[in-house]
C-alpha cells in the first residue's frame, strides 16, 4: 500500500488547524514552493499564548489527533475525530486560483482562472485531460483546514482590559476577513482563554459580549470562552466539549464542499480549461471524466464527514464511470493517462474496500477486491498489455498486499490471534448466499502469501522475456519500435530495469522472502505451525536464490530437528525440507547437519534422487577434512534407515550363566546405496548388564549381501577404556573402571539386509535388565557419526532369527528385558547320616558334608543358625579346622565359621554336636554357606540348607504306689529303739519312727521309633516332705546286658519303697517326690554312650497318720504252715490264710469291730465277730483261715472293719496277691494244678 502516492489512501478525517497555542515555529503546511509563493496568508498579530494551562490544552489537542490511531469501525464512543495540526499565528493557504503560466501569451479575453489542482489550469499536472490526483487530496488533508481554531487570552488586568479587548477584536476581525478573502470556506472558531475560574467569569460578561458583537461570532458555534483555572480533568473535558462543538462545524464545512461538487456535477457540461491545450493532443477531459472527478470529490468529502455509506456510493459511482466505456476505455495504453487512470481506479477501489471494512462488511470487501481484480484483469487483457506479463503479476501481488495491509489497519477483533479463528464469518446479509470460500475474510497471512505467489509468477514471467527487451534501449531506436510500450509498466519498472541483462534488477527473492516472512509471522501468531513451516520452506527457496545460507540454516535447522512432518509421517515434506537444508549446510560447511541429513535420507522410503551417490562416507566430499567432527544423532530426532531391535532368548537367566540374545539391525536404505560399514556397535543396558561393544573386524568372514545374515559374536570381558573422560588426574582417580563386553565381527550392512548378531551375554549380577539403546558408530576418514537408537517397549512381537532364514516371533512382550536371577549356588550342603528320630536326653551329633560342585575353588564360610525352644548348647567342629561352640540360649547363631578353601569337587566336613535336650522339642537349623569362587571374588554366592530337628521323649511311664505290710513295727517294749529317739533325737539321722512299706509299680512305654536297650532302671528319691526317710530298691534285679525294648511296648518294673518317719512322736503324714530313671542307649551306638532319661513321678504320700487295715493273704502249702495255728488239716483242700492287720500310727486308743460275713465261695474259721483294741502306735493282726469252695476264681471275703468309736467302716487295703474293687478285697484261689505249681514254685 505504501507504493501508492503519499496521502492517496489516507483515511480522511476533518482537518483542524489550531493556532495560538505554541510559539515554537512549526512546519508550514504548504511545502510546494510554487504554491507557497502564491499562497494566501492568514496572520494574527497577537502573540501566541504561553502558560502552563495552555501546554496542557495543547497536549490534549495533540492527543485527540486520530490520524495515528488504527481505523476502527467500532469506535463510536468518540464524539469527534480530527486530524489536528498546531501552528503559530500564521496560516498559509494555497492559492484559490492558479496563475497563468508565464510563457503564455495573454489571451484576448480575461482568462477564467481555476484551482491550481484542477485539470483546467495549465500549470497543473493534470492539464489538460487528467482526472484527479493526490494533490487535490492533499489540499484537503493538509492545507485547508475545515476549522481554523484560534486561541486568544483574555486579560484579567482591568487597566489593560479595554486595550487588550480592542486588539483582540481587531485581530479576530482581521483573521476572519483574511480567511473570507482567501476563497476557502474554512470556519473560524475562536477560543478565548481566561486565567480565571469558571465561577468568576461573570465579571467579564460585558467584555465578552462586546467582543462577540464586534466580531460577529456565534458563542454557540464559533466563540468559546475557556476559563483555565480549574482542575486538569475538568479543563480537558471543557476542551473536549469545544472540540465536539467544532466537529459539527467541520461536518458542516465538508457538507458544503460535497454539496458544491454535486452542484458542479449537476451542471452537465464539461468546463473549459483556462487555456485550450496546444501541445500534444488537444484532448481535454470529457464530461464523463468530470463526473468521475466530481463523484470522487463528493465521496472524499463524505468520508471526511464519516458518512461511509454515502462515500461508498459515490466511490462506486465514480469507479463505474471511470471504468465505463467513456473514460478508461477511451484511453490508449501508451498514454501516461492510462496508468494514471488505473492508479485512480486502484485508489478508488482501495477506498471502497476501506469503507466496506469500516462498515464491517468483510465478505463484501473481499468480493469487491476480487471484482476489481477481475475487472482490471479483463481490462488489461483487452486494452492493455495483457495479464501474461510481469507488470500484471506485480500488480496482482500488490493488490494482495494492499488487502493484507487494510486488514491489519482495520484490526477486526475476529481476526486477532487471540480470537482463535482464521477467517471472519460473512456478514448476515450475505451469509445465505453461495459464497466463495475465499470471500470469508482470512487473516493477513493468507494475503501475504498470495502476494508472494504472485511475485514469484512475476519473476517467472520476467525471466521469460526475450533478451532484446532486457537491454537498456537505445533511445532513438525505442521511439521507432515502440518497445517502450510493449510491457505493462504500471507501478513497476521498465522491462530493462525489471530484469536487466546485466546488473541487478528487481530483487524478487527478497520481495518474496519479505512477504513470506510477514505471512509466517501471522500464521505463527495463530499457532498454525505447519503452515508456518511450509512458509519457511518456501522462503528458504528464495534464500537459496539469494545465497543467504546462514539464514536458511537459522530458519530450517530448528524445524528440521523437530518437525511435525517427520513425526506424523509426511515423508515427502520431510524430504524436501532435508534436501533444502542440506544444500545450505554444504555451503557453510555445517558438517554435522550434512551427515545427519544424509544419514536420514538413505532411507529408501524417501524418493530417490537421481544421480545421488547414497554413500554416507562421501557425505563430506569436497569439504575440508581437517578436524573430523563427531556427530551425535539419535532416533528421537530423525528417521534412519537402520532399525535395531534386541531380543533376549529367555525371559529369565541366572547370574553366572549366559543368555543368548540377538541384536538385529535392519537396513532400509536404497537398494543401490553403498553398504554401511560400522566402526562399532555399542549396546547399553538399563540394569545389571554390562555394556556390549562390538567392533568392526574385517578379518572376520565378510558379510554376504543376502537379506538376512546371522553372525555369532563372542564376547569377552574387558575394562573399558573410557575415551570420553579426559586425562585429568582428579578424574582418573575417582573414575570407576567399568567392565564391558567386547566382541568383534564384520559390521558391514548391505542395503535391505537384516544383520543379526547373536550374542551370549554373561549374566553377572542379579536384577532386572533391559536393553536400552544401541549406538552405531561410523568412522570414515572425514567424520565420526554416532547414531543412537532407543530400544523401545512395544507390543509388537520381535523376531528371533535362526541362521536358516527362518524366524519366529517371540511370544513375550518386551523381549528386550531379562530378569537375572541370583547365581545358583553349586555348593552342596548335605547332612550325613541324619537319623530319623532324635530323642531327648541324648546328645545329638550331626555330620555336615559341604561339597564344592563349582568349577573353581571356593572360599567358604559357614553360619549355623538355630531356632527353637530351649536351644541346648552346641558346638561346631570343622574337621581339620576350627571348632566353635555356642552356649544354650533362646536363639543361637554361629557366624562365619571358616571352612577355608574348598577345592573344586572337594568337600569339607563339619560336625555339629548338640547337648542333650531335656525334653521333647523342635529345632530349626539353618546352615548357610557363603562363599566366593577364587576365579570371581566379586560375586558372593550363598547356599543354604534348613533342617528340622524333631526331638521326642523316648519313654513315657505310669506309676502305681501300692501299700504293703512292712515287716518292722517298732515295739513299745524295745527300749533301744525308743530311747534312741529320745536320746539322740536331733543328732542321729537314723530314723526311729514308724515305717511304712509300699510297692511302686512303674509301667514305661517306649515311644521311640526303634528298639532301645534299657540298661538300668531306678527310682530316685528326689525329695521328701514331713521328716521321713525313703528308701527304694528294685524288687527284681536288672538284667546285666540290658533289656531290649521295642517301639510301642510297655514294660513294668516294681520297686520297693520304705518310708520311715524320723521320729516316733511325729505322726503327721509325709510325702515323697520320686523320679524314675531309665538308663538306655541306642542299640547301634557304642556302649559308653549311655543316655539317662529321668521321668519325674507325681508326689506320693508315703506315710499316713490314719489307721489302716491291710489284708495279706498266704496260701497253705504242704510244706509250710506258717500261720496254721487253726489249721489242723493240711489236706488237699487248700487253706488260705487271710491276715487282717490294723495299724494305728496315731496316739489314740482305738477299738475296731470286725465282722466276717459267711460266703458261698469259701468257708472260714476265725472270729465271725470280734472286737480288737489297738493301742496307740501299735498294730494288731487277726487271721482268718479260708477254705475256698471254688477253684481258679476270685473269692470275696466280706469283712467289715469298723471303728467302734467313730462308727466308721475302714477300707481294707489289699496287698500282694490281692485285689480290690469297690465292694472290698478279692482273693485269688488258684486252680489245683496251678496251685500245685505255684506251691512248688514258692
Amino acid at each position: 500500500m505504501d507504493e501508492y502516492p503519499l496521502g492517496s489512501l489516507d483515511y480522511d478525517v476533518p482537518f483542524l488547524v489550531v493556532s495560538g497555542l505554541t510559539s515554537t515555529p512549526t512546519k508550514p503546511l504548504l511545502t510546494d514552493p510554487s504554491l507557497r509563493e502564491q499562497g494566501v496568508l492568514v496572520r494574527s498579530e497577537l502573540p501566541p499564548i504561553d502558560s502552563r494551562e495552555v501546554k496542557d490544552i495543547l497536549r490534549f489537542m495533540q492527543d485527540s489527533d486520530v490520524t495515528s490511531l488504527p481505523w476502527s469501525s467500532l469506535d463510536s464512543s468518540r464524539r469527534h475525530r480530527f486530524k489536528i495540526k498546531t501552528i503559530g499565528r500564521e496560516l498559509l493557504l494555497p492559492p484559490r486560483r492558479a496563475r497563468l503560466p508565464d510563457d503564455l501569451e495573454a489571451p484576448v479575453s480575461a482568462p477564467v482562472l481555476h484551482s491550481p489542482f484542477s485539470p483546467l489550469s495549465p500549470g497543473s499536472t493534470l492539464y489538460p485531460d487528467g482526472l484527479i490526483d493526490t494533490c487535490w487530496l492533499q489540499k484537503h488533508q493538509q492545507y485547508i483546514p475545515s476549522v481554523y481554531l484560534c486561541f486568544y487570552s483574555l486579560s484579567s488586568d482591568l487597566t489593560l482590559a479595554t486595550l487588550h479587548d480592542n486588539q483582540l477584536k481587531t485581530d479576530i476581525n482581521a483573521v476572519k476577513n483574511a480567511l473570507g478573502q482567501s476563497g476557502y470556506k474554512s470556519r473560524l472558531v475562536v477560543v478565548i482563554l481566561s486565567d480565571q475560574s469558571p465561577n468568576s467569569m461573570s465579571q467579564f460578561q460585558d467584555r465578552l459580549e462586546n467582543i462577540k458583537k464586534s466580531t460577529g461570532l456565534d458563542p454557540k458555534t464559533s466563540l468559546f470562552v475557556l476559563p483555565t483555572r480549574r482542575p486538569k480533568a475538568e479543563l480537558e473535558s471543557a476542551v473536549d466539549s469545544v472540540l465536539t462543538a467544532i466537529f459539527d462545524q467541520a461536518m458542516e464545512y465538508y457538507r458544503d464542499l460535497g454539496r458544491h461538487s454535486r452542484k458542479k456535477r449537476g451542471r452537465g457540461v464539461a468546463p473549459q480549461p483556462t487555456v485550450p491545450p496546444t501541445s500534444g493532443t488537444s484532448h481535454t477531459l470529457s464530461l464523463q471524466g468530470w463526473h468521475v472527478r466530481y463523484d470522487f470529490k463528493s465521496a472524499v468529502f463524505a468520508e471526511f464527514r464519516q458518512e461511509l455509506d454515502v462515500a461508498l456510493r459515490s466511490y462506486e459511482q465514480s469507479y463505474e464511470i471511470l471504468l465505463g466505456a467513456d473514460v478508461l476505455e477511451t484511453l490508449p495504453a501508451w498514454s501516461p493517462r492510462f496508468n494514471d487512470a488505473r492508479l485512480l481506479a486502484d485508489i478508488i477501489a482501495i477506498r471502497i474496500l476501506r469503507c466496506l471494512f469500516l462498515m464491517g462488511q468483510s465478505t463484501a470487501a473481499v468480493k469487491r477486491w476480487q471484482a476489481h481484480h477481475d475487472r482490471m484483469g479483463d481490462f488489461v487483457d483487452r486494452r492493455g498489455h495483457g495479464t501474461q506479463n510481469y507488470g500484471w503479476k506485480a500488480w496482482e501481488a500488490r493488490w494482495c498486499t494492499v488487502m493484507a495491509n487494510l486488514i491489519e489497519k482495520v484490526k477486526f477483533p475476529e481476526l486477532e490471534p487471540s480470537s482463535m479463528s482464521l477467517y471472519r464469518l460473512p456478514e448476515k446479509i450475505l451469509s445465505a448466499d453461495r459464497l466463495q470460500p475465499w470471500e470469508l475474510l482470512h487473516h493477513p497471512g493468507y494475503w501475504y502469501r498470495a502476494a508472494a505467489r504472485h511475485i514469484s509468477q512475476r519473476r517467472r514471467l520476467a525471466a521469460s522475456m526475450p533478451e532484446d527487451d532486457r537491454k537498456p534501449p537505445d533511445k532513438a531506436q525505442a521511439r521507432f519500435t515502440g518497445k517502450a510500450y510493449k510491457y505493462d509498466t504500471y507501478m513497476c519498472p521498465e522491462s530493462y530495469e525489471e530484469f536487466p541483462l546485466d546488473g541487478p534488477g528487481v530483487d524478487y527473492s527478497q520481495m518474496i522472502f519479505d512477504h513470506l516472512m510477514l505471512a509466517k509471522a501471522e500464521f505463527q501468531k495463530r499457532h498454525q505451525v505447519r503452515t508456518a513451516a511450509e512458509l519457511v520452506l518456501e522462503s528458504c527457496k528464495e534464500l537459496r536464490r539469494m545465497k543467504k545460507w546462514d539464514q536458511i540454516l537459522a530458519l530450517l535447522t530448528p524445524l528440521w530437528r523437530n518437525m511435525a512432518f517427520r513425526m506424523e509421517g509426511w515423508w515427502d515434506i520431510t524430504e524436501a525440507l532435508s534436501w533444502t537444508l542440506r544444500a545450505a549446510a554444504i555451503e557453510v560447511s555445517r558438517k554435522d547437519l550434512i551427515v545427519a541429513i544424509d544419514w536420514e535420507l538413505l532411507n529408501k522410503g524417501f524418493s530417490r534422487r537421481p544421480g545421488w551417490h547414497y554413500d554416507i562416507t562421501k557425505s563430506l566430499d569436497g569439504l575440508s577434512t581437517d578436524n573430523p567432527p563427531t556427530i551425535n544423532i539419535d532416533d528421537e530426532h530423525l528417521l534412519s534407515f537402520l532399525d535395531a531391535s534386541f531380543v533376549f532368548k529367555h525371559e529369565e537367566g541366572k547370574a553366572g550363566q549366559t543368555c543368548p540374545a540377538q541384536l538385529s539391525i535392519k537396513s532400509n536404505s536404497f537398494s543401490d546405496a553403498a553398504p554401511v560399514v560400522l566402526e562399532k556397535i555399542r549396546i547399553d543396558f538399563d540394569g545389571s548388564l554390562r555394556t556390549i561393544i562390538i567392533n568392526q573386524n574385517s578379518d572376520e568372514t565378510p558379510t554376504p549381501s543376502s537379506s538376512l545374515y546371522v553372525t555369532r559374536a563372542t564376547l569377552k570381558e574387558a575394562e573399558e577404556e573410557d575415551e570420553s573422560v579426559p586425562d585429568d588426574v582428579a578424574e582418573s582417580d575417582s573414575r570407576e573402571t567399568r567392565t564391558v563386553l567386547h566382541g568383534t565381527a564384520d559390521l558391514t550392512i548391505f542395503p535391505g539386509q537384516t544383520r543379526v548378531f547373536e550374542l551370549d551375554i554373561p549374566l553377572r549380577e542379579p536384577g532386572d535388565a533391559k536393553a536400552s539403546s544401541v549406538q552405531v558408530t561410523l568412522a570414515p576418514e572425514s567424520f565420526i557419526l554416532e547414531y543412537t537408537m532407543k530400544i523401545r517397549e512395544t507390543d509388537s512381537p520381535d523376531l528371533w532369527y535362526s541362521p536358516f532364514s527362518t524366524r519366529k516371533k517371540t511370544t513375550r512382550s518386551n523381549p528386550q528385558n531379562i530378569k537375572v536371577l541370583p547365581r545358583p549356588p553349586k555348593m552342596e550342603v548335605k547332612l550325613a547320616k541324619m537319623l530319623e528320630q532324635y530323642y531327648a536326653n541324648e546328645s545329638i551329633k550331626l555330620e555336615l558334608d559341604i561339597l564344592n560342585e563349582e568349577d573353581a575353588d571356593a572360599n567358604a564360610k559357614l553360619d549355623v543358625i538355630l531356632h527353637g525352644h530351649d536351644i541346648p548348647g552346641y558346638k561346631v567342629q570343622v574337621i581339620e579346622g576350627e571348632e566353635r561352640s555356642c552356649s544354650a540360649s533362646e536363639e543361637s547363631k554361629l557366624n562365619s565359621v571358616s571352612l577355608g578353601k574348598i577345592e573344586t569337587s572337594g568337600s569339607s566336613k563339619v560336625i555339629i554336636t548338640f547337648d542333650p535336650a531335656n525334653g521333647p522339642t523342635v529345632y530349626e537349623m539353618t546352615i548357610k554357606v557363603s562363599y566366593h569362587l577364587v576365579s570371581d571374588p566379586a560375586t558372593p554366592i550363598l547356599q543354604q540348607a534348613a533342617y528340622h530337628l524333631n526331638i521326642v521323649n523316648p519313654f513315657e511311664a505310669s506309676y502305681d504306689l501300692l501299700p504293703r505290710l512292712h515287716s518292722e513295727w517298732p515295739s513299745l517294749f524295745d527300749l533301744g529303739s525308743i530311747q534312741g529317739i529320745s536320746r539322740e533325737g536331733e543328732a542321729s539321722d537314723r530314723p526311729r519312727g514308724l515305717a511304712q512299706r509300699w510297692a511302686l509299680a512303674t509301667r514305661y512305654a517306649s515311644f521311640a521309633q526303634g528298639d532301645l536297650s534299657i540298661l538300668d532302671l531306678d527310682v530316685q528319691v528326689l525329695a521328701t516332705q514331713g521328716n521321713v526317710r525313703c528308701t527304694t530298691s528294685r524288687i527284681e534285679p536288672a538284667s546285666p546286658d540290658g533289656l531290649q525294648i521295642s517301639p510301642k511296648t510297655i514294660e513294668e518294673a516294681l520297686f520297693d519303697l520304705v518310708a520311715q518317719k524320723m521320729s516316733l512322736d511325729d505322726q503327721s503324714p509325709s510325702t515323697a517326690d520320686l523320679a524314675f530313671v531309665i538308663k538306655w542307649r541306642r542299640p547301634e551306638s557304642p556302649d559308653e554312650a549311655i543316655n539317662t532319661t529321668t521321668l519325674p513321678l507325681p508326689r506320693f504320700y508315703v506315710t499316713v497318720s490314719e489307721p489302716r487295715v491291710l489284708a495279706t493273704i498266704s496260701y497253705s502249702t504242704s510244706s509250710t504252715s506258717s500261720s496254721s495255728s487253726l489249721s489242723s488239716t493240711a489236706s488237699p483242700p487248700q487253706l488260705l490264710f487271710l491276715d487282717i492287720t490294723i495299724e494305728n500310727p496315731s496316739s489314740h486308743f482305738l477299738t475296731f469291730g470286725l465282722i466276717m460275713e459267711p460266703s458261698d465261695e469259701f468257708a472260714f474259721s476265725g472270729a465271725k465277730t470280734t472286737t480288737l483294741n489297738v493301742l496307740p502306735v501299735s498294730r494288731r493282726s487277726v487271721t482268718y483261715r479260708l477254705l475256698p469252695l471254688v477253684k481258679g476264681a476270685w473269692i470275696r471275703p466280706t469283712l467289715i472293719v469298723r471303728d467302734k468309736y467313730f462308727q466308721k467302716v475302714l477300707k481294707i487295703i489289699p496287698t500282694e496277691g490281692m485285689k480290690s474293687d469297690k465292694d472290698g478285697v478279692l482273693v485269688w484261689v488258684p486252680p489245683e494244678d496251678e496251685l500245685d505249681g505255684d506251691g512248688d514254685g514258692e
Binding site: 479483463d378 466463495q436 493468507y446 505447519r530 512432518f565 506424523e568 522410503g605 537402520l642
Partner: protein
Amino acid sequence: MAIAIPSIACLGVIGRNNNPLHITIFPSYDSSTHTLAPLRTPLQFSLLLSSTLDVFEFRTRHARGPNPTASSTTTGLVTGDFGLLHAVDDRLACYGFETNTGVKFIAVVDMRGRAGASTVLPPTSPTAATAGTAAAVGAATSGVGLRDTELKVVFRAMQTAYVRLLQNPFYDPEETGSVALALGARGPAAAAPGGGKRITSRRFAEEMRRIGEGWAPGVTVL
C-alpha cells in the same frame, strides 16, 4: 459460455495421529491452456493437507476453550463436520471432517477447477471445451460459490468408503493408524517413510477417485 465451477482438487485421509493415510490428487481445468492438470505439485498438496491439521487442532482446542464464538464451526465438532477449514487462496479451499475415531477427511476444492459448460469428465478435445479466453476469465471471476453443506456428501461417501475398508478383515487400522505411536515407540524405521503404512487398498483408492471426480456443487449422491 462456460462458467468455471468448483471441483475437487485433492482428497486426503489423515489418520488419528495426523499421519497421512491416503492422498488423491485430481487435475483441475486450466482455462488458459484448456488442459487438465493438477493445480499444485504433490508436495504442495501434502503441505496443504498437513496445514489443515493446524486448523483441526486449532478448532478442537478452541471448542474446548471457554468462549467459542464461531458458531458454525463449533457445531462441526458434534457432527464431525468441520466445514470450511480455510481458503488457501482465491482458488483453493480446504474442507474437513473428522470421524469420532480421529480420522480426518479433507477435501481440497478448486473453486475454478472445472469448466462448467463441459461435461464432468475431462473433455476429449481441449479446444472444444470453452469459448474465448476473455470470456473464460470473466466467467471464472463470477464463479459459483459454495456452501459448507455441499461438501457433506463427499465426506459421507469418504466415510462410507473408509468404513468399508475397515470392514475388510485383512485391513489393520492400527497398522496405519499408529504411525506416530510406532514412531515414538519403535524407532522410525518401523514407520517406513512412504511405505506400507498408508492405505494400500486399490478399491479404496478407486473409490476416492470416483468421489473426487463425481462431485460437483449440488451433487447429492456420490
